[in-house]
C-alpha cells in the first residue's frame, strides 16, 4: 500500500480513516467493563455474566449479566410500580420527558454511534448517519404523540406494563421504535436487548435516568433467549412487542395464546426488489446497494430477491457486478467503508452454508475479486443469478449480504413472483412509469412499498408486515395503537346469558312435539353465494329456551370450512377492488332488506333466546348503516415523512377473515363483526354461535337478496369451537376474530401460529347494544392493515 504523499499522489488509493473508539471504551471502562441490569432506575449487581464481543475484531469488549426469571420478575415489578404515576401523568408531562430523551440522544450521538459500531459491527457511517439520527427522530416524533395523547387517543390509555424484545441488527433504533411509542402512550417498559448487542440499550437507560426519566419507567434486562422467554411468560405483562425471526415470533404467539396479552410482532422477510425495464438502471444499482448491502444485509426488510424484467436482466446484473467490485469492506470504524462485520461467527457460518447450498442447487454465485479481512466476521457481497423460485436461497431469509435474482416477463408475473413467499414485510418497485408503479404497489403483499427507493424509514410512517412477517405497526399513528387500550366502559356490560349446552349427538333427536305445520325450511350452510348442504350429511338440533325444537342446522365440518375459505378467497379480488361507494350501497341494501323482515327476525330471536328481538334487529340495522357509512370514509393518510414526495398510508383489507360470532346478541353480534370486515373489502367465513344460529341462517337470505357478491360472506354452522380451530389452522385465512368464549379463543391463538395470521379475541363480555363497545374505529382498524407506500418525486 502506498503511504508517502508522492506515492499516493500517483496511486490515488483510499487510506485508513478511523473513527476513534476512545470515548466509547472509556464509558465501558467507567463501568468496569461489567454490567448488571438496569431495573427501577438503578444498576443491579452483575451476575452470571457473559461476553460481549466486537465482531470486527473478535475481542471481548464487556461483560453483561444473564437475566434470570427473578431478574425479569424484579424488572416487571419495578415497571408495575411505576405504572400508575406514569400512566396518570399528563400527555404534556410525558412529552417533556420524551423531548428530553431526544435531546439526550443528540447530545450523546457520537457515543451511541461508536458504541453501536463496536458492539454490532455495522459501519460508523450507518450508525452515525442513519441509526442514531433516526433514534432521535423517533423520540421527537413520539414526544408529539404524548403531547397530543388526550385528544388524539381519547378514550384510551396506555396498555400497561410492556415487555419488549429486540434484535441485534439495529440495537438502539429498535429500542427507540419500541420504547418511544410505549412511553408516549403511558406504558412502562421492560426491554430485553439482543444478547449480541446489549450495550447501547444499557447506555440509553443510564442517559435516560440522567435526563430525568422516572425510575422504573424503563427497565433493561440483558440476556439470551431464556431471559426473553421469562419476559414473554411473565403473567404481569400486559403487552409484548417483539422484533426478530418468524420462528421465535411463532413461539411467542404459542406462549401467549389465551393470556389476553396484546401482541405485536415484526418478523422476517424476503422482500422483493422489482425492476421494470423503464427504470433508471444506474439508480437501481444504488438502490440494490442500499437494499441488500446496507448493514451487511442483516435487515429484516432487505430487498433480497431481485426480480428483473427479462430483457434488461443481463445488463443490470453486469452493472451490479461492476458496482460490487467498488464496495469497500473493512473495519466498521473506518469512515470510508461500505460494509462492516457480520454480527457473530454463528451468523457468518449460517450465511456461508446457505451460499454453499445455493451453489449445490445450481444457482450461479458471483462475488467481487477482492478479499475480505481475515480477522473478525466478514462476508463479501454476493450475487446469485439463475435462481429458480423453488431454490432454497429464493425462499429462506438469509439475513446476510446475499442477493438472489430472477426474471419476469409481465407486470402480472412480477407481482406473482413478488408475492410467492410466506413473508410480506416490504417491497421495492422501480419504474419511471407512474401508472405502472402505482398499479403494482398495492398488489404486492407487504406492509411497506418503496417506489424508486428502498430502506427509507421515518418515525411518522408505520413499519410492519403482512402474512408471516408479523402484525402491528411501528411508527406513526398506526404504531401508537399498539400501545393503547380503551378505558373500560363505566357502564358494565349486560350479563350475557350463558350459552346452553348443545346436544352432543349429531343426529336429529326426535322432537317431543310434532313439527310445525308450515312448509319445512331447512337452514343450510351458505358458501360461495349458494345454500349448501353440510358435507357431513348431519344436522344439529336447535332448541328454544324451553327446549322446544326450533329447527336443525347443518353440522359443518372441515371440508365445509375448506370450501368456504376457497369461496372467500375467490371473491376477495373483486370485492377488495370494489369502490367504497359500491360496498356501502350493498350494506345499505342489506339493511333495507333486513328492515323489511324486521318483525320476522325479532320473532326468531325471541323464539331462540326468549327475549324480544325488536331492539336487537333495530340495532343491527343501525350497525349496517354505520358500516355502510364508513365504507367510503375509512381513508388512509398521507404521512409527513422527510422526503420530497408522498408517503401514502393506505388502508388495505386484511384478506379472508374467519369470524367466530358471539352468542350474546346472536344477530347483532354476528353483523357487528361481519359488517366492518366486508365494508373494508375483506371476505369472511363466519360461524354463528352454537346455541343461536337460526337468526344467522335466516340472514343469508337477506344477503342473497341484497346484491352481496357470491363468496363475500360465507356462513358455516356447526360446532363453533371445532370450526374456529379449522379456520385458525387454515393457511389461506389471513385473520381470525374470535368472540365466542375464552377457550375457543385460546385454541385459535395457538393454531394461528401456522401462518402467523392476525388474531382478535374478545377476552371479556361486550355489550353489543352499546355503540361505544359494539362498533367504530377499533373494528375498522382490525379490518384493515396499513400499507405505507413511499413515492419520492421530482424531475
Amino acid at each position: 500500500m502506498a503511504s508517502t504523499v508522492p506515492e499516493i499522489f500517483r496511486s490515488m488509493e483510499y487510506g485508513p480513516a478511523p473513527e476513534s473508539d476512545k470515548a466509547a471504551l472509556a464509558w465501558i471502562d467507567a463501568h468496569k467493563s461489567t454490567f448488571g441490569h438496569h431495573i427501577g432506575g438503578a444498576w443491579t449487581k452483575p451476575k452470571a455474566t457473559f461476553d460481549v464481543i466486537n465482531p470486527a475484531t473478535a475481542k471481548v469488549i464487556a461483560k453483561v449479566s444473564q437475566g434470570s426469571t427473578a431478574d425479569v420478575d424484579a424488572a416487571v415489578k419495578a415497571a408495575r410500580a411505576a405504572l400508575p404515576a406514569w400512566r396518570a401523568s399528563s400527555g404534556h408531562d410525558r412529552a417533556r420527558q420524551l423531548y428530553a430523551l431526544a435531546r439526550a440522544v443528540q447530545r450523546h450521538a457520537r457515543l451511541f454511534a461508536v458504541l453501536e459500531t463496536i458492539d454490532n459491527g455495522k459501519s460508523i457511517r450507518e450508525t452515525r448517519d442513519i441509526d442514531i439520527p433516526l433514534v432521535a427522530r423517533h423520540f421527537y416524533h413520539h414526544a408529539g404523540w404524548a403531547q397530543l395523547f388526550e385528544t388524539e387517543f381519547a378514550g384510551h390509555q396506555g396498555a400497561g406494563v410492556v415487555g419488549q424484545i429486540i434484535p441485534w441488527n439495529f440495537p438502539l433504533l429498535m429500542l427507540a421504535w419500541k420504547v418511544a411509542p410505549a412511553l408516549a402512550a403511558g406504558c412502562t417498559v421492560v426491554l430485553k436487548p439482543a444478547e449480541y448487542t446489549p450495550l447501547t440499550a444499557l447506555a440509553f437507560a443510564e442517559i435516560a435516568r440522567e435526563a430525568g426519566l422516572p425510575a422504573g419507567v424503563l427497565n433493561i434486562v440483558t440476556g439470551d433467549g431464556a431471559t426473553g422467554a421469562a419476559l414473554v411468560d411473565h403473567p404481569d405483562v400486559d403487552k409484548l412487542a417483539f422484533t426478530g425471526s418468524t420462528d421465535v415470533g411463532r413461539i411467542i404467539r404459542k406462549h401467549t395464546a389465551g393470556s389476553g396479552k396484546k401482541l405485536s410482532l415484526e418478523l422476517g422477510g424476503k422482500s422483493p426488489f422489482v425492476v421494470f425495464d423503464d427504470a433508471d438502471l444506474d439508480s437501481v444499482v444504488e438502490g440494490v446497494v442500499d437494499a441488500i448491502w446496507f448493514n451487511q444485509g442483516q435487515v429484516c426488510c432487505a430487498g433480497s430477491r431481485l426480480l428483473v424484467k427479462e430483457g434488461i436482466y443481463d445488463r443490470l446484473t453486469e452493472k451490479l457486478r461492476t458496482r460490487m467490485e467498488k464496495l469497500r469492506i473493512g473495519s466498521p470504524l473506518d469512515k470510508a467503508v461500505d460494509m462492516g462485520a457480520i454480527v457473530a461467527p454463528v451468523q457468518l457460518e449460517r450465511i456461508a452454508s446457505l451460499v454453499e447450498q445455493g451453489k449445490q442447487e445450481g444457482c450461479e454465485c458471483w462475488q467481487p475479486s477482492w478479499a475480505v479481512p481475515k480477522e473478525g466476521s466478514f462476508y463479501p457481497p454476493t450475487l446469485f443469478t439463475n435462481v429458480a423460485p423453488s431454490a432454497t436461497l429464493a425462499q429462506v431469509e438469509i439475513f446476510g449480504p446475499v442477493l438472489v435474482s430472477m426474471t419476469f416477463r409481465t407486470p402480472e408475473e412480477a407481482v406473482a413472483l413478488a408475492n410467492n413467499t410466506p413473508f410480506g414485510l416490504a417491497a421495492s418497485v422501480w419504474s419511471d412509469n407512474l401508472n405502472l408503479a402505482l398499479d403494482v404497489a398495492p398488489k404486492i403483499k407487504a406492509g411497506v412499498v418503496w417506489i424508486n427507493c428502498t430502506n427509507l424509514f421515518d418515525a411518522a410512517a408505520g413499519f410492519g408486515g403482512y402474512r408471516e412477517s408479523g402484525y402491528g405497526r411501528e411508527g406513526g399513528r398506526e404504531g401508537m395503537w399498539e400501545y393503547v387500550k380503551p378505558i373500560a366502559p363505566s357502564k358494565a356490560p349486560k350479563a350475557v346469558k350463558p350459552a346452553k349446552p348443545v346436544a352432543k349427538q349429531r343426529a336429529t333427536v326426535p322432537a317431543s312435539e310434532p313439527a310445525s305445520v308450515g312448509i319445512d325450511r331447512t337452514p343450510k350452510l351458505f358458501i360461495g353465494g349458494k345454500q349448501a348442504r353440510p358435507d357431513s350429511g348431519y344436522s344439529i338440533r336447535v332448541e328454544g329456551p324451553s327446549g322446544a325444537h326450533l329447527g336443525d342446522v347443518g353440522d359443518g365440518n372441515r371440508k365445509d370450512i375448506r370450501n368456504a375459505v376457497e369461496a372467500a378467497r375467490g371473491a376477495l379480488g373483486g370485492w377488495s377492488r370494489a369502490s367504497g361507494h359500491n360496498r356501502g350501497q350493498i350494506l345499505y341494501y342489506v339493511a333495507e332488506n333486513l328492515s323489511a323482515r324486521a318483525a320476522e327476525f325479532a320473532a326468531r330471536l325471541r323464539n331462540m333466546t326468549g327475549v324480544d328481538g325488536a331492539a336487537e334487529v333495530d340495532a343491527t340495522i343501525r350497525r349496517l348503516f354505520t358500516y355502510a357509512a364508513w365504507a367510503d370514509k375509512w381513508d388512509g393518510q398521507v404521512h409527513q415523512t422527510p422526503i420530497r414526495g408522498v408517503t401514502l398510508a393506505m388502508h388495505e383489507p386484511v384478506g379472508v377473515i374467519g369470524i367466530a360470532a358471539p352468542a350474546a346478541a346472536p344477530l347483532l353480534g354476528f353483523v357487528s363483526l361481519v359488517a366492518p370486515a366486508i365494508a373494508c373489502g375483506n371476505t369472511v367465513v363466519a360461524t354463528p354461535s352454537e346455541p343461536y344460529p337460526l337468526a344467522v341462517t335466516d340472514f343469508y337470505q337477506v344477503l342473497e337478496t341484497s346484491d352481496v357478491p357470491a363468496g363475500v360472506v360465507n356462513i358455516v354452522t356447526g360446532h363453533a369451537d371445532e370450526l374456529a380451530k379449522v379456520l385458525a389452522d387454515h393457511d389461506d385465512v389471513d385473520a381470525i376474530w374470535h368472540f365466542n368464549g375464552r377457550d375457543g379463543a385460546k385454541a385459535c391463538e395457538l393454531a394461528s401460529c401456522g401462518n402467523m395470521k392476525q388474531t382478535w379475541c374478545d377476552w371479556s363480555p361486550r355489550d353489543w347494544m352499546d355503540a361505544a363497545q359494539g362498533e367504530g374505529r377499533a373494528f375498522l382498524r382490525h379490518a384493515t392493515q396499513v400499507k405505507n407506500i413511499w413515492i419520492p418525486y421530482g424531475e
Partner: protein
C-alpha cells in the same frame, strides 16, 4: 461544415449497435473521441430518476473520505486537475499574467519542501480565459507545457450568430488555445431538437481541429436531469472531448447530482464505443473538501484513470487557495490563513 441528414443515424435506421462491449480503461494515451452518428434511440433511452440520483449523490461524501497523507496527496492531485480560470469583464493582461504564474507554481516552495513533493512538479491542468486574453496567457505559459483554454461560441449564453461562433473557435485556436470550451444552445435541449444540438456541436468540433473541445451544457439551465443526460449523450456523439457542467454564470452551476448523471453518461458512452470522454465540473467548487467529494465520485463511478488531467478538470478560481491552506495545515499542524498564500 454541416452534417446532412443522410449521414445521421436515425432511430431504428439500422441494426442495433453491439452495445456494452467491455472496454479496458485507456492507458497512458487517451484516443480522442471522434464522435459517432447521432443515435436517437440511445439519446431518448436516457432517463434519470431525480430523487434516487440525489440520494446516491448525497451519500458519496459520507461513504468516502481521505485523511492525513492521503488527503494531502489527493489535494495535490486536485491541483493538477484545475483549469485555473478568470472570466471577468475586467480581465487585463496584468491579472492574467498573475494567474499564469500561479498556474505554473501553485504551491509555495517552502510548502512543497515540507510536503516532500518537489519532484512532482505540480502545476494546474490549464489556464482558462476569454479569447482576448489568449495571447497573453500563451505567452506567459510558454515552456511550461500548461495549455491555455478559451471559452468560446458566444460564451456564456451562446446565442450569437452561428457563423461568428464558429469563427470565434477558429480564431482562438489560431491564437494558440489548445482547448476550447464551447457552449451549447440550451434551447435545442429544451425543445428536444437533438438533431440541431448534434449538428451544432459537431460543427464546433470540426472548427476546433486539433484543439480539444469541452462542451459546456449549462446544466443549471437545462431544467431536468433527464435533459442533462440526453444533452451529454448528444455532445459526446458529436465528438466532445470533455463534457462540462456550467459556464459559472448560471444560477446553479456544478452539483454532485448533475455530476453523477454526466459521469454515468460518460461511462455508458465508453462502454458502448470504447472512447473515454473527460468530465469538467465548473462553478461553485470553492473548498478543498468539496473538490475531494468530486474526486470520490469520479473514482467510484468512472475509476482511477479518470482522475488525471486528460480526463478530468475542475473549472475553478478560488479553489486553489483553499487547497493550499489545507495542505499547509497538513504540513505544519497549524490552521492557515488565506493571506499567507500567494494571490491568484
Amino acid at each position: 461544415m454541416t452534417i446532412t441528414r443522410a449521414n445521421l443515424h436515425l432511430a431504428g435506421a439500422d441494426a442495433v449497435t453491439p452495445a456494452h462491449v467491455r472496454h479496458e480503461p485507456p492507458g497512458e494515451h487517451v484516443e480522442r473521441n471522434p464522435g459517432q452518428p447521432l443515435d436517437l434511440d440511445l439519446v431518448l433511452a436516457q432517463h434519470v430518476n431525480k430523487s434516487a440520483t440525489e440520494r446516491r449523490a448525497a451519500t458519496i461524501p459520507t461513504r468516502r473520505t481521505v485523511k492525513k497523507q492521503w488527503q494531502a496527496a489527493w489535494l495535490l492531485r486536485a491541483i493538477t486537475l484545475i483549469d485555473l480560470t478568470t472570466l471577468s469583464g475586467d480581465d487585463t493582461p496584468g491579472n492574467v499574467r498573475r494567474l499564469c504564474a500561479k498556474a505554473m507554481h501553485p504551491l509555495r516552495p517552502d510548502l512543497e519542501a515540507l510536503l516532500g513533493v518537489e519532484s512532482l512538479h505540480v502545476t494546474t491542468g490549464a489556464v482558462c480565459v476569454y479569447h482576448a486574453l489568449v495571447p497573453t496567457a500563451v505567452e506567459a505559459l510558454r515552456g511550461s507545457g500548461i495549455p491555455v483554454a478559451a471559452v468560446s461560441t458566444g460564451f456564456p449564453a451562446g446565442l450569437s450568430p452561428f457563423s461568428t461562433r464558429l469563427a470565434e473557435v477558429r480564431e482562438s485556436v489560431a491564437a494558440g488555445a489548445r482547448e476550447i470550451d464551447i457552449v451549447i444552445t440550451r434551447g435545442h435541449v429544451l425543445t428536444g431538437d437533438w438533431h440541431a444540438l448534434y449538428e451544432e456541436v459537431r460543427a464546433f468540433r470540426e472548427a476546433c481541429g486539433d484543439a480539444h473541445m469541452k462542451a459546456i451544457l449549462a446544466t443549471g439551465e437545462l431544467a431536468t436531469l433527464t435533459n442533462v443526460a440526453r444533452a451529454s449523450m448528444v455532445a459526446m456523439m458529436a465528438g466532445a472531448d470533455f463534457i462540462k457542467t456550467s459556464t459559472g454564470k448560471e444560477g446553479v452551476n456544478a452539483t454532485l447530482p448533475v455530476s453523477l448523471v454526466m459521469t454515468r453518461m460518460i461511462r455508458a458512452y465508453f462502454e458502448r464505443t470504447g472512447y473515454a470522454v473527460g468530465y469538467k465540473p465548473a462553478g461553485g467548487i470553492r473548498s478543498a473538501k468539496n473538490a475531494l467529494e468530486y474526486l470520490y465520485l469520479i473514482k467510484e463511478e468512472l475509476g482511477d484513470r479518470w482522475l488525471r488531467a486528460d480526463l478530468f478538470r475542475f473549472g475553478a478560481s478560488g479553489l486553489l487557495t483553499d487547497i493550499e491552506r489545507q495542505l499547509e495545515h497538513f504540513a505544519t499542524g497549524r490552521y492557515a490563513a488565506a493571506h499567507r498564500q500567494p494571490m491568484v
